[in-house]
Symmetry: C2
Subunit: 222 residues, 2 copies
DNA sequence: CGGTTCTTTGACGTGCATCAAATCCTGTGG
DNA sequence: CCACAGGATTTGATGCACGTCAAAGAACCG
């Protein structure tokens, strides 16, 4: 457990904004029952199959949602950043495992709350729909794009999500990106190298900083 | 436009049940503003990019949701059956195109309704979450399963969704299944042949009837 | 400094795509 | 009823994108 901080880094492009987008009075009511908590990098927030009594709003840090097959094959379903809401379950248990990629802190919303609060229920419905739209886009990536296109499209998504900075800070490993895009870490590395040779990005430094030279050119025609 | 029918074939395994699962009084209120409509096979219910003023509940028939890349590559996002709810958008416009696979009939729910009806909003939130759970499962299929596994797992899903019948009625073409699973129609055909030779299924007849001999054996270890 | 983990690059193998052709089915018109 | 055209499925032959295996840096850590 880390110390709690009160600054929420939620941005407008977040799929959620339980922290950022709620009306002030709803937010005030939320605060009354919301327990903030923090975790170091590499820790499990919740695991697939566990009971799902909370929704989570990511305040700081980065999280990934994963699923595994019985033989260990892993799919990274989604990467989450400040302002994103996660923990949606289909029924009483989680369908995915959530793991922190960095030190992260969360809001936790007890699942009884949205049942009682129509405004919150409405907001959560829209968030779930935004996640669904993302998942549809990702299905297109996985089903119909080449490895190089997947990597470029993913970097474009990430670059946009993080506010189109000149340098992208990648909190995840290459193998996590590979498991997100349905390819191998080696293939991911080769795609990065090709983009670098093409002048769209710079070299990935060991601390995960990736210069973006032509971000708009990363998007293929969808 | 087809004639309206009043029997809704929604089942318990449907992701939705706007027709089947609502409380009688809510249903009655819904009926007051719900316009039923019908379409023949191969027609477009709505297209990606169009305004999204309605949600849809499928009463009879079958529908698929698709997305295309600019160069024509197509991804079938989901197959829908009676009882399923669709038309969720992220914002004001549809993110997918919905096409009928058979003669189908729908309920249409104006999007202003859930805003006004907390019960309906709650229900839609749960439906959207169920769709998200499906989309996550599908990401695992697309990202980490072999072609043969994808086909078997898809058939298992479909078999379960349709009530585990002895004969599956496939309303879609092989190429639609292929575009759903991120493979080619030829590969899909080969996978069917392999399952047939293994004795799990029978021969696919020209009218789309597929005998299921060992449905439970279709599921891989996930 | 030695051990560990991650990334990068090369060499080679394979699963699926692609190309092609045969078969089957359906609809149409004589 | 039969002939024919067009489309879907099936199967075979071949090619290539990406997986797999391997090894060499590079960064980190005790």
């Amino acid at each position: 457990m880390l110390v709690l901080v009160d600054t929420c880094q939620a941005t407008a492009s977040a799929r959620g904004g339980l922290c950022a987008c709620l009306e002030p009075d709803t937010l005030r009511r939320l605060r009354a029952v919301t327990a903030d908590s923090g975790l170091a990098a590499g820790e499990t927030v919740f695991a697939a199959g566990e009971a799902a009594p909370f929704l989570y709003g990511l305040r700081q840090g980065a999280v990934m949602l994963t699923r595994r097959m019985a033989d260990g094959r892993r799919q990274v379903l989604s990467f989450l950043f400040p302002g994103d809401t996660f923990g949606f379950a289909d029924g009483p248990v989680h369908v995915a495992t959530a793991v922190t990629l960095q030190r992260s802190s969360f809001c936790r919303i007890p699942l009884v709350m949205p049942e009682a609060d129509p405004f919150l229920a409405q907001r959560l419905r829209h968030i779930a729909q935004a996640c669904l739209a993302d998942a549809y886009h990702h299905a297109l990536r996985l089903g119909r794009m080449t490895a190089a296109e997947r990597v470029a499209d993913f970097l474009f998504w990430l670059w946009t999500r993080l506010g189109r900075p000149e340098e992208l800070h990648l909190p995840m490993r290459l193998v996590d990106i590979a498991d997100h895009l349905g390819i191998r870490a080696e293939t991911t590395s080769r795609a990065f190298s090709a983009l670098r040779r093409a002048g769209l990005i710079g070299a990935l430094s060991s601390d995960g900083i990736l210069p973006i030279y032509q971000g708009a050119a990363l998007t293929g025609r969808r």
